[in-house]
């Protein structure tokens, strides 16, 4: 229609409007619409309602010419014709419809007539159907109930049958190893057994229980058997659990077994380095596997497993701790740690608890700390061992002082260095466990050095202190008396060692540790709180000084004893004329020689003093002789008073000789100090005695003889000369009859003595 409507738009529209106005119940509608349309229509619009034919004619007549009018006429006539046909058609159609409607009404009327009777018929029939069905229902009801009852009984019977069959079935299941089914059956039958097991189904119950017992046994076996797959074992465990079997017991047993198997997972650190670690690895893998299985089997056993794993790690670490206590290198430790760490990682994967990781971290901390301390303590041990060797060996070998000093210094430096290298190795290894500890380790190392050096002083003090407090030999020295000499050497070694540590070892350690840890981000560690070289070096400096002092005092004590014997035994007032240089001079010089030897081995030479090359013994002695002669010559005349005055005056004008100067760590300084102290002691001993002339002369001779060799030894000649003079003066003061020996005799006696010693040397060599 639409396609048809389009070209006939105007026409159709008008027609519809017309039709609608025709049918419209409301007449106001159409004029309204026409009104609206009329507004737009001009007067010459024929279609509008307000069309005025006269006006239209007028306008048309006015406007158009004839031709136009004619044309319009033709056009209008055509339109009119068209409209007539349309109208005709409409009327026809209308009519047609009307006829149809009339026909239909007629037909309806005739059809409705027979309906009533039919309806009644239908109702009747329906009624009869209903009554029949009711009849059927009532008649079948009883039977149905019966059937239902029968059905229930049948079910029950089937169940009973099932229960009776259960044992057989179970046995069958056992045979076919269908344990899952068996368990299902049994658990299904369980309520029945529970209810009637004591009465009707006794035998049955017993039989099935027996079967179930077998099943349980088998299941247990399955659970325990390692050959079964994990899945099977887990299932078995679950089944056991379903059977109300005390699985905890089982679990405990299994755990025990696991634990037992752990014993095979021994960590033998000694073997890690050389032998194949695969042994251990395999064991660990097995263990890990077992744990995994266990977790599957007993999902609730996490805690125990963690504990187990933890125990294992702890055990490892305990073993490692033991191992660390023995002497091991960093690489060894590293190897062990690595193995443990691998284990931990493996186990961690399985047990999945971070606790293990933390735990091992903690333990590793302890181990490393232990390692550091034990390394240091071994270092300490090394040093004190090599020091002790001095005491033990000195009697046999003469030159072990230097050797032991070397050993000690080497031990300190090398030990420190090696240790740092080791530590570095450990630090460089990024096996995870150590990464976290890195800073801590560095800290510990620094601390360790500090502690080590601090402790190093203790054995020193202990070793050296043994003498002064002559209490007990808690150090296990067998021969106390014979030791004395060696001990002095030891003290000397200690002195030098202390100064060595102060001057060389500490800066080196500082430097090296700074170097090793320089890559670390922690700033200022080398001067941080952990390692304070200044404090330590101060400590060792003072210790070194103390030891040196001790050495000196030990040596002077020996000489002092010698001198004491010399001066307290004879009756000086009744002394005989001197015949030769007294023996004590030899002893003294011997002692000095020993000291010189020791000192030369140990101490640095120091600045070589410019020696007078030309000073031969005789010229020097003659010079001093003349001086002496002058002095003595006057005292000859009994003018002791003026002589005293003279010495006092001489003292005043002489530059005051510093006798007690500070000792330095050099050969010369130590020897000089000892000589000075001994000479001072000599003077003091002299002052306590009273001499006759011969006594004076004897001492004069002795001192004169001493002069030359001492000059060779001593650095500070002036002080020595002064002290020797002082001795002579003291003797003179304490002499009842101070007449010195004649210089020629003095010279002669000295020459005789020199000749004798030369002779002796010749013989001995």
């Amino acid at each position: 229609m639409a396609t048809h409507e389009m070209p006939l738009d105007d026409k159709a529209k008008r027609m519809r409007e017309l039709l609608s106005s025709f049918y419209s119940p409301d007449p106001s509608n159409s004029p309204n619409s026409s009104n609206t349309s009329s507004k737009y229509t001009s007067i010459d619009d024929i279609n509008s309602i307000s069309f005025d034919p006269d006006q239209y004619m007028n306008i048309l007549a006015h406007k158009s010419n004839l031709e136009g009018l004619l044309q319009k006429h033709v056009q209008m006539a055509a339109e009119i014709k068209n409209l007539d046909t349309d109208l005709q058609m409409l009327v026809y159609e209308n009519y047609n419809k009307f006829i149809c409607a009339t026909d239909t009404i007629k037909r309806m009327k005739s059809n409705i007539l027979g309906m009533e009777g039919n309806m009644e018929n239908l109702l009747e029939k329906i009624m009869s159907v209903q009554s029949r069905s009711d009849n059927v229902n009532t008649s079948l009801f009883d039977k149905r109930e019966h059937i239902e009852k029968l059905h229930r009984t049948c079910n029950l019977l089937r169940k009973i049958q099932f229960i009776y069959d259960l044992p057989d079935r179970l046995v069958k299941c056992i045979k076919s190893e269908a344990y899952a089914d068996a368990v299902r059956f049994y658990t299904g039958a369980m309520p029945v057994f529970k209810a009637y097991g004591d009465s009707s189904f006794q035998d049955c119950k017993r039989a099935s229980e027996e079967a179930i017992a077998v099943i349980i046994k088998n299941l247990q076996e399955k659970v325990f058997s390692d050959s079964e797959s994990m899945q099977v074992r887990a299932e078995s465990a679950v089944q056991l659990k379903q059977l109300n079997f005390p699985v905890d017991n089982l679990k405990a047993k299994l755990l025990e077994k696991l634990e037992h198997s752990l014993k095979d997972v021994q960590l033998i650190p000694e073997e890690i380095g050389n032998a194949s670690p695969s042994n251990h690895e395999a064991a660990i893998c097995e263990f890990v596997e077992a744990i995994r299985a266990f977790r599957v089997i007993f999902p609730d056993s996490e805690e125990q497993l963690v504990k187990l794993a933890r125990d294992l790690v702890t055990k490892h670490f305990v073993i490692t701790e033991e191992y660390v206590k023995t002497r091991i290198s960093g690489a060894d430790l590293l190897g062990v740690l690595r193995v443990i760490w691998n284990d931990v990682l493996l186990m961690d994967k399985v047990s999945g608890e971070a606790a293990l990781y933390d735990h091992s971290l903690e333990a590793a901390k302890v181990v490393i700390k232990l390692y550091i301390t034990s390394t240091f303590s071994y270092l300490l041990q090394d040093i004190s061992d090599s020091l002790l060797k001095v005491v033990k060996r000195d009697g046999v070998e003469k030159y072990s002082l230097g050797v032991s000093l070397d050993a000690c210094t080497k031990a300190i430096l090398q030990g420190g260095k090696n240790f740092l290298v080791d530590v570095h190795k450990i630090l460089d290894d990024n096996s995870g466990i150590l990464d976290k500890l890195r800073e801590l380790i560095i800290d510990w190392v620094q601390e360790g050095f500090q502690e080590f050096l601090r402790q190093l002083e203790d054995p020193f003090l202990l070793l050296s202190g043994r003498n002064s407090s002559s209490s007990t030999q808690n150090h296990g020295f067998p021969e106390e008396a014979q030791d004395d000499k060696a001990l002095a050497g030891l003290v000397l070694v200690l002195a030098q060692l202390s100064s060595f540590i102060e001057k060389i070892a500490i800066p080196k350690i500082t430097e090296e540790s700074a170097m090793s840890f320089s890559g670390d981000s922690v700033i200022g560690y080398e001067y941080g709180p952990a390692f304070i070289p200044r404090e330590i070096s101060w400590k060792f400096r003072s210790a070194g000084e103390k030891f040196l002092q001790q050495y000196i005092s030990m040596k002077t004590q020996r000489v002092s004893l010698l001198l004491k014997k010399r001066f307290t035994t004879p009756n000086w007032v009744k002394h005989k004329e001197p015949r030769e240089v007294h023996m004590f001079v030899d002893l003294f010089l011997q002692e000095l020689e020993v000291i010189g030897n020791e000192v030369r081995q140990i101490l640095p030479q120091g600045i070589q003093k410019h020696r007078r090359a030309a000073s031969t013994g005789s010229t020097a002695s003659s010079i001093s002789n003349s001086l002496r002669e002058e002095k003595m010559g006057r005292s000859n005349t009994q003018k002791a008073r003026s002589q005293l005055l003279e010495t006092h005056l001489a003292k005043l004008f002489k530059q005051k000789v510093e006798i007690f100067t500070k000792v330095e760590h050099t050969q010369g300084s130590v020897v000089t100090t000892i000589v000075k102290l001994c000479l001072k002691s000599l003077q003091e001993f002299v002052r306590l005695q009273t001499f006759n002339r011969s006594g004076l002369q004897q001492l004069q001779l002795d001192i004169q003889f001493l002069r030359t060799p001492l000059r060779e030894i001593v650095e500070d000649e002036a002080a020595m000369d002064f002290l020797l003079d002082e001795v002579i003066v003291a003797v003179a003061e304490r002499c009842l009859d101070p007449i010195p020996l004649e210089p020629p005799i003095l010279d002669k006696l000295i020459q005789a003595k020199l000749a004798k010693t030369r002779e002796q040397n010749a013989i001995s060599s």
Partner: protein, 349 residues
């Protein structure tokens, strides 16, 4: 440590070894010093510190027949003192009385009360009863210990009892316990030995070698200070005689003598052959000190308060003044008496 020479000096003519505080002189601070000269006529000087404390002057000068090795002033009579002397060959001891002075200074003769001369051996020192008027004296020679009863008015002295030190020991010096007057300490080569003078028997001993000098702490019981040749100064608690409770380093050379201050506990003076006098402060509470020493060596403070080193020669004579206990007198071998005050260190305490 080299302090400015604040001391007041006084010169003896000759060399000298001994100086003694005149304890009985309560009006003045006086000292007796004696010379040691083999050949010259020896003198005993009575030296008095001026009341201003700035000057030492000679109150009396008395000649003594022999060189004097030891001199002790009588604790109850300022005019009496004992000397140990030597004529070069043999030693002797005597009790002397200073004659009444009538202003003249020219060497009046000393009155000898009595000799203490039963000695076979070399007499070393004489000890007076520690305090107060008492007739007892002790003399120590190399081998023996004698207890004397002195009667000043009758001018006699009798040996009451004696004991020998034993063959191997040579006695050297001693001290009388001021707390327990029955006990006397005597030093020999390797021991300090103790005698009970009632029984005149050895009671105990402390093992320490080369003791030069021994002094009781007058303020504290059981405390004994010894000076050794080589190993400095040791402080002992007699109840714990195994180990010294404190060690002080002593002197560079021998520590010759050691003296406890009569008033200030813990102040100890020592003199040595290194021409120095050292003033020490031992901690007054010895037990605590002992602990702190073993526990924390860092806490140890330097016990050396001061070194007086303004001397030319070895110092053998040293004494505190009992009247003014902050003053001490020292005597070096060259005959120089120096009186110093330790007041700054006391006030600091």
């Amino acid at each position: 440590m080299q302090g400015a020479s604040s001391g007041i000096g006084y010169g003896l003519k000759y060399q000298a070894r001994c100086i003694s505080d005149v304890k009985a002189d309560t009006d003045h601070t006086s000292f007796l010093a004696a010379t040691l000269s083999l050949k010259e006529e020896n003198e005993v000087h009575l030296i008095r510190l001026s009341s201003s404390g700035t000057e030492l002057f000679c109150e009396g000068l008395f000649s003594h027949p022999n060189e004097i090795w030891d001199l002790v002033s009588c604790p109850f009579d300022q005019r009496i003192f004992s000397t140990v002397y030597s004529n070069g060959e043999s030693f002797g001891a005597a009790i002397w009385q200073i004659p009444e002075l009538y202003g003249e200074l020219n060497s009046p003769q000393l009155e000898r009360i009595t000799f203490l001369d039963t000695h076979a051996g070399k007499i070393k020192c004489v000890l007076w009863w520690p305090s107060g008027r008492h007739d007892k004296l002790i003399s120590i020679d190399e081998e023996n210990l004698y207890l004397w009863s002195l009667d000043v008015s009758k001018k006699t002295a009798q040996v009451q009892s004696h004991d020998s030190a034993g063959m191997m020991h040579k006695l050297y010096g001693g001290a009388w316990d001021p707390h327990d007057t029955n006990s006397v300490a005597a030093t020999c080569e390797s021991y300090v030995q103790f005698w009970d003078i009632r029984t005149m028997k050895k009671t105990s001993s402390i093992e320490c070698s080369h003791v030069r000098s021994v002094d009781y702490n007058p303020k504290q019981k059981h405390i004994l200070v010894t000076a050794e040749h080589e190993s400095g100064i040791h402080i002992w608690d007699l109840r714990k005689p195994k180990f010294p409770i404190q060690e002080l380093p002593g002197h560079t050379h021998w520590t010759w003598t050691v003296k406890c201050n009569p008033e200030y506990d813990g102040l100890i003076l020592s003199a040595g052959t290194d021409s120095a006098v050292n003033l020490w402060l031992a901690s007054s509470s010895h037990d605590e000190l002992n602990e702190s020493q073993t526990d924390s060596p860092t806490r140890r403070v330097d016990p050396l308060l001061k070194t007086y080193s303004d001397y030319e020669d070895s110092i053998y004579g040293l004494t505190w003044s009992s009247r003014e206990p902050w003053i001490f007198a020292s005597l070096s071998y060259d005959g120089r008496v120096v009186v110093e005050s330790v007041k700054p260190f006391i006030s600091k305490k």
